[in-house]
Structure formats: structure tokens, C-alpha cells
Amino acid sequence: MDRRDFIKLSALTAGAAGLAGCGHPDHQLIRFLPEESWIPGVATWRPSLCPLCAAGCGVMARVMEGDAEVVRNGRTGLLRMGLVKKLEGNPAHPVNRGKLCARGQAAVQIVYHPDRIRQPLKRRGERGTGEFEPVDWDEALSTLAARLKQVLDDDPAGLAWLSRPLRGGKRVLVERFLATLAAPAPVYFELFDESVLRWANRLSFGREQMPTYTLSVANYVLGLSADFLGTWNSPVAQAIGYGEFRQGRPGRRGKFVQVEPRVSQTGANADEWIPIRPGTEGALALGLAHVLLNEARRPTTAAGTAGERIEGWLQGLPEWTPEAVAEQTGIEAERIRRLARELIAHEPAVVIAGGAALAQTNGLATALAVNALNALLGCVGALGPVRFTPQPESTGLAPPHRTLRALVQKILSRPESPVKLLLLYEANPVFATPPAWQVAAALDRVPFVVSFGSFLDDTSILADLVLPDHVFLESWMDDVPESGTEPAVVSLAAPAMRPLHNTRAMPDVLLDLSRRVGGRLNEALPWKSYEELLRARFDALARRAGADADAFWKQALERGGWWSDNGGTRAAAPRHAAATTRQIRYQPAEMDGSVEEFPFHFLPYASQAFYDGTTAHLPWLQELPDVLTTAMWGSWVELNPQTAERLGIRQGDLVDVTSRHGTLQAPVILSTGIAPDVVAMPVGQGHRAFTRYASRRGANPISVLAPLEEPETGALAWAATRVQIRRAGVGRLVLFSGGLSRFPHPEER
């Protein structure tokens, strides 16, 4: 640049600065009158609940005065109001004791998401195109009420409810709403639904719920494909217990061995990783039990009912010698014997099976085998590492995957769908079910679909009417954690902030709808608002606890819920299961596709950032580097380097992953932490529509899954598909570290 150019550039800049004085208040956003008064710059902390997984952690929301850009009466402007700026764990909450995982930390982005639905919408264009137009609440609700009346007059069986599994007050409200209308029971769906383990616990221990693992009292943990420090069951509670298990007891450091085909985030913490053939985890458990029963002479009766469920248990499992198990699992017999000896030497020891181990056609047998092994080790009960959180109400659900399939089959059974009105709330089955289930085709045939979601996703884009819910920080929240805590917990939270947009809480919409429909609903649902319903529930709890209702409610609101401080309702021992002589025989897992044509096991796994994909719309989580690969903003396939070399595939290459049910494309990441005959892929990306951050990003592993299921619970066996892989070109990987290794080394150039 010479002097003359410099002067020109300076003049231009100065001109720009001079013009900058032209700002005028009239050209700024208007400011609305604030509805609340705040001391600027001073934060308060209010309890709330994390809604992002079934663990049900308590959070504290940091609320400060701020300017929110909002629309009020059709005008856009700034509103000075209390805004949630940060979430942390609630230190008083028994589940997470002040800790919070990455997903929980990012949950605050749900509130300010630019693609949040801000007012009720009705469909304008063709179904699925995402063309909607705003309507006002009154119009939307009268449309829905008219539709509902029509369906009820015709045949109440034409009404269907589809949501994620609900707990607490919402479950009571929805089930009573449907029951009063004589409509079918609600359909709950979640991909990583744990109905297999719940059902196994019912058969083994008489408790149909997820177990609470108190790792702080264990000396030895044997994990079987359970990502219990990352995504499975109650990960924050388990991680706290794990910390104590490893480092919290001077002089006593617990040993942790993880057995799984691919090293998970949890496996990466283990002292020892043992790869196992997918679907044979149950065989390993039986092999370990064989050694304990025969070589260590444990009495078969020590396992109680849990043992009686297993065929051959009382005879000492004669078929399950370490040698026979070695052949099935690919783990040497001597290693199996050593593991069994270690389990005895380090009592109390606990075996944790979950995730892909139970997502097989033999998942129930595997879970029962592990339950029996744990019972034999004496670790189940009020003092052992495996406990059951007391539940104030029943936790049993009709098997979710089976009920969803039944709904789909019902819709598709006749040329004209017998389901006329579908209410959809926080479930995305179009994304999270294998294509062979035909969920999208079925939903498309329902004449009227109403979504209560805050975002348009693969499923709610099919809606005819969208009635956006408040997000969790704007709502009355309650929850009853099923596991992860020793005392019984009923969480409660008042709204931490006022609603930003023209949304209404789903429970309040249901109550409003009942008033519009009238009749029996008025008596069945006497509450004016969801707050009233929660108050009634807590009054009942207070009566049971013999406390003053007002003080009880106030204390619950301040702490973030109710939990027993004394030992009165601490974790309970297993009940005796119903007397039945039914025994389950362990069968080898069935895999979809032949070994010759489809040589690789396909292992989808819950992503640490997105879980089952429900949080893929949050940019912080897209930006979160995966713990093991540091990949972000996309999908990838993990492949063993030996396999890759044999197939001529290098890191970053794009591959076709083909099963009998579909093909997907994703770049390869080489990982030595995966068995050579397994390819793994995180679930969560590959949404067709899910806000600007997740739409058409990456590939969806569920889209190539086979529709195999565990026969007794109907749960999808999502780890039972075989695939072939072929190089398809050069892919694109975004890695946080080592990203430059994609470029040739200077010497190679």
C-alpha cells in the first residue's frame, strides 16, 4: 500500500465513522414496558429440572435482568426481563448433587434457539414441506376442539397420543385425559428405551424399574457394553459414584473392567478393555456364573429368584464351561476364569450390562443372566451396589416399542386410517425407528396431526397444527427419577423465567381443551392449571409425610423437589418376584444379514452430545468434540485400522455402509478401540428436518437398521444388524485435534 492509497482508505474509514452519528432512537427496536423489576446486574439462582434424558437431574438456573427480543401484539421489540443465562447442577438434588453433564449445560440454548416455534402454526403447503402460517391461540384451540369432538362422536378409538415416556404429573394428566375420553392408552416412544432391563428386573427381583448403581460401595465393576459414565441410565449419578469408587476411599481403589466390542467413553476409563463378539454378553455372564457355581462352590440358591429364571441354573449351568463360552464370545477361557476369580476376590463386585448388550434379540436372556450373576455375587439389595429407588407410583409402562408398532399397524391396516387425530409430544419416531417400521407412511395417513413441540423435527413437520409448548425453564416442571438416587425423589420447579414467545404449556392446553370439550372431562380433570395439579399431588405427598401442606410446598419449591432426608424411604431391597416357574433359555443372538455378504456388525451408539438425536439442534453440542475421536458437526463411522488397510480405506474416506435395509454414507475415523469385525456409528445426526443446525447434517444410522426385536418386550434390537462397507470417495471430517493430519506432511508433498 502506498501513501496515497493509505490516505484514501483512511478517508473512507473516517467517512464511515462520521456517518455513524446518524443513529436515531426511532431506528432502534422499541422497548416494551417491563412486567417485572430487577436490580440490574445481580443474579438470582432458581431451581429447575433438566428435561433432556430420563435421569431427571436437578439444575439451578442463573437468572439475570436482560433485554430479550420478543414479539408482543404483532410488534417486535426489546423487553427487559429476567433471563436464564446459565445452568448448573442443583447441589441439593440427590440425583446429580450439583453436577451436570454437557447436554444439561447446553440445555439453556433451547430457550433462545433462533428456530424455536414462537406462535401456533397451521399447515399451509403440502404435508412435510414445512410450510406453515401463524394462527392465534383461540383459533388453533377451537379448531382442535372441533376436531376432537368430531372424533369422539364418531369413535374415541380414533384418538391417539404419541410422546416420549412421561412421568409424574404429566403422565397422570395425559392418561386420565385419554381414559376419560375412552380413547386408547398413550403410546410412548424412545429409541433407547430400557424396557428389556425393566422387564428383566421384574422377573428377577420383582421391580419393574431401572436399577440404581451405588458404585461408591463397590470394589470391582465389570461393565458389559453399558456406557454408564456417558449416556446410560443415570450417568451423572453414576459418574459421581465412580469417582468415589476410584479415588474417594484412601487405600482402596476399585478395579474396573469393561467388556464391549467398541471402547466407549466409559470403556476408555477402564483398567482393562476386553473386546467381545456383539450379542454374546449374556453367554459371558453365564460362563462367569458357571465358574462361581462350580469352581468356587457358590450355592445355586444364593441367587434366589433371579437364578431360578435361568434354565439350567439349579443344575450349575453345566453347558456353560469357560471353554464353551470362549468359543461363543471370543474371550479366552483362562481370561474368563480370571475375571470370575477377581469378582470373588474384590467383593462387593457388580456387573453392569446395558446399551448394545441388551439391544439384541437375546437381550432379555442377557439381562436375566447378569441379574442372576449379580444376585449370586450378593450385590443386590439395600446395602449392595445394585439398589432400587423407592417409587411413589408405579413405573411400569406398556412396552413402548411394541405399542408404537401396534399403532402403526393399526393405521396401515385399513385403506382409510382408523386413527383420525394424533397428538404428538416430544417424540421423533420418524427419525428414530428403522424404515421397515413405516412410521412416516403411517403418520402421513392420519388425517389430522397436532404437535406440541417447540421445534419442527422429522416427525412434527408432518403436523397440521403446531401448538408450541413452553420450554422447560418457562414451565412448571415435575419429575420422579426412576434411578440414580437412594431416597425417593419427586422433583418440582416453578418457571425460572417468563415465556419469551407466544407459547402455552402443553398440560395447560390439555386442560383448556377439556374445558372446551366439557362433559366428563370437567370432573376428571378439575384443575384450572398444571400448577394446581402439581399442588394437589404435593398436598397428597405432604399428607403422607404428615407435614403441613403449605410449608411442604414452599420447601419443595425452594429446594427443587421433595426427597426424604431420613432413612425412611431409602433404597429398597428387591421384592420377591411373583411365584412362577417360568425359565428363560439363553439363545444366541440373531443377526440380520449373512456373514458372507454382510461381514461387519453394525453398532450404533448413543452419542454423548446428542443422546438419541433429540439435542442435535443445539449448536453448543454440535460444536462439542466427541470425547474419543474429537469429531464434531457431523457423522462418522469408526473402523479398525487393520480392517481399513485390508479394504484400502484411509481416515477421512467416505464409505457406503450397506445393510439389507438401506445404505448410508459417512467418513471413516480409524480407531484401534474397536474389534476388526465391527463398525460403530454415533446416533443423533442425519435429521431430514430439525432446525438450521441439524437439518441434513451427517447420516442417520437408524435408517439402515433391521426391524429385529427382542421377542418378549418387542424392544428394537438396534445392535443386531450386519453391514458391508465400501469406499465411496473422499469425505469431510471436522476434528478438534489432529485436524491437520488430513493434509500431507511437508516431506510428502
Binding site: 500500500m1 502506498d2 492509497d5 484514501k8 482508505l9 473512507l12 464511515a16 465513522a17 456517518l19 455513524a20 452519528g21 446518524c22 443513529g23 436515531h24 432512537p25 431506528h27 432502534q28 427496536l29 422499541i30 422497548r31 416494551f32 414496558l33 417491563p34 423489576s37 436490580i39 440490574p40 446486574g41 445481580v42 433485554d67 430479550a68 427480543e69 408482543r72 401484539n73 404483532g74 410488534r75 417486535t76 421489540g77 426489546l78 427487559r80
Partner: protein, 204 residues
């Protein structure tokens, strides 16, 4: 180096053209009016910087001129009537980090009955009718890149007069920036009063 100069010329020409175009299209202060005359949010800029102009002003630390305030508020009259700075209007100063600027609600506590026929007070009532607050323009404040956190409350507790940093506001009509708050100013005063001059005291 002929090509270099050519590239630069081209850059200058394009920049000038874009700027002119932007100005012509009203992008500079993005006055995107809807058909009914209400303002719509600019798709490009955030509430903090609603327009390109605001962003540039922010970058250069240019403050709005006095007459730009929506209401010609006179500090002098209010001070003469012995209305204390922090008790009624800038209530945050005594208790928190930010002093705060009073809105329609605080004004109307008195002005529902006092001087209701004054044109500026009528303006406040009009704002209330429209469900709007007064769009006061900030006079003091640090641009974000300064990474300075100022806490009013400790200064008030230490007995620092408002006028030390804000000038003789009680003699002003519309507040103007009378004192240039740069680091030298802060550090001088901190040294005089033996307050902390550690970096972390303000830059955190």
C-alpha cells in the same frame, strides 16, 4: 507491484460502492419498516447492535449526542427538588453493579400527579399508552472489548461521589459524557485512595 495497486483500487471501489448501496437501501441504520409502520427486527444485527451504524459507533466508542435522547430530561430540575440519585431513579447503583436507567414506571410514580401538562411528561404518558418504555440512549459504558467490569455498589459504599465519574450532573439538563472514563482515570483515583490496582480488580 502494479497488480497490487490494481487489487487495492478494486477493493476501494467495491467497498465504496457497497457502502453507497447500503446507505441507499437504508441498511446503514436498517430502517426496515413494515407496511403498518411498525419496526421489524433486522435479520442481520442483534438487539445489541441493531444496525451497521450502531456497530461502527460501538467500535469507535461514539456516544449519542445529547439531543438524541427521546426526552429532554433535566437532571438539574430533579436535583433541585432534592431527589436523590440512587434512591428513586438509579436504584441499582447502591445495591448492584449497574446503576440502571429509570423507565416509564418509575417516572410515573411522581409524574402521574406532578407537572402532568409538561410536554415531556405527556410524552411519558404516551409511551405508557403504547405499552412502550423510554428508549434512553446510553451515555456511559465500556465497549465490550475493554473487558472491564465496573461495580457501582462498592464505589458508593466507599463514599465516592457520583460527580467524580459523571461530572456535575445536577447542573446538567440532558446528561452528557463529562468525564472520559479511561484506565488512567480509574488508576489515578485508585492510587489516591489506596484502592487495589491489581489487574484482576477490574479485568475479570
Amino acid at each position: 507491484m502494479r497488480w497490487r495497486r490494481l487489487v487495492l483500487r478494486l477493493f476501494l471501489a467495491v467497498a465504496t460502492a457497497l457502502l453507497t448501496l447500503g446507505l441507499l437501501l437504508g441498511w446503514w441504520d436498517s430502517a426496515a419498516m413494515d407496511t403498518d409502520g411498525t419496526r421489524q427486527a433486522s435479520p442481520v444485527f442483534t438487539p445489541e447492535r441493531p444496525s451497521l451504524g450502531a456497530a461502527v459507533r460501538d467500535f469507535f466508542g461514539i456516544q449519542p449526542e445529547p439531543e438524541r435522547q427521546p426526552i429532554a430530561f433535566t437532571h438539574k430540575v430533579h436535583a433541585e427538588n432534592r431527589i436523590d440519585c440512587t434512591s428513586y431513579c438509579h436504584t441499582g447503583a447502591a445495591v448492584g453493579p449497574v446503576a440502571g436507567i429509570p423507565g416509564v414506571k418509575q417516572c410515573l410514580i411522581c409524574h402521574r400527579t406532578i407537572a402532568t401538562d409538561h410536554p415531556d411528561v405527556e410524552k411519558i404518558a404516551t409511551y405508557e399508552e403504547r405499552d412502550e418504555d423510554i428508549p434512553w440512549q446510553r451515555v456511559y459504558g465500556y465497549p465490550a472489548p475493554a473487558h472491564v467490569k465496573f461495580q457501582h455498589a462498592p464505589h458508593i459504599r466507599a463514599g465516592v461521589n457520583c460527580s467524580t465519574c459523571h461530572g456535575e450532573v445536577e447542573q446538567m439538563t440532558v446528561a452528557v459524557r463529562a468525564v472520559e472514563l479511561n484506565m488512567g482515570f480509574c488508576v489515578d483515583c485508585h492510587r489516591q485512595h489506596k484502592a487495589s490496582v491489581e489487574c484482576i480488580a477490574c479485568h475479570y
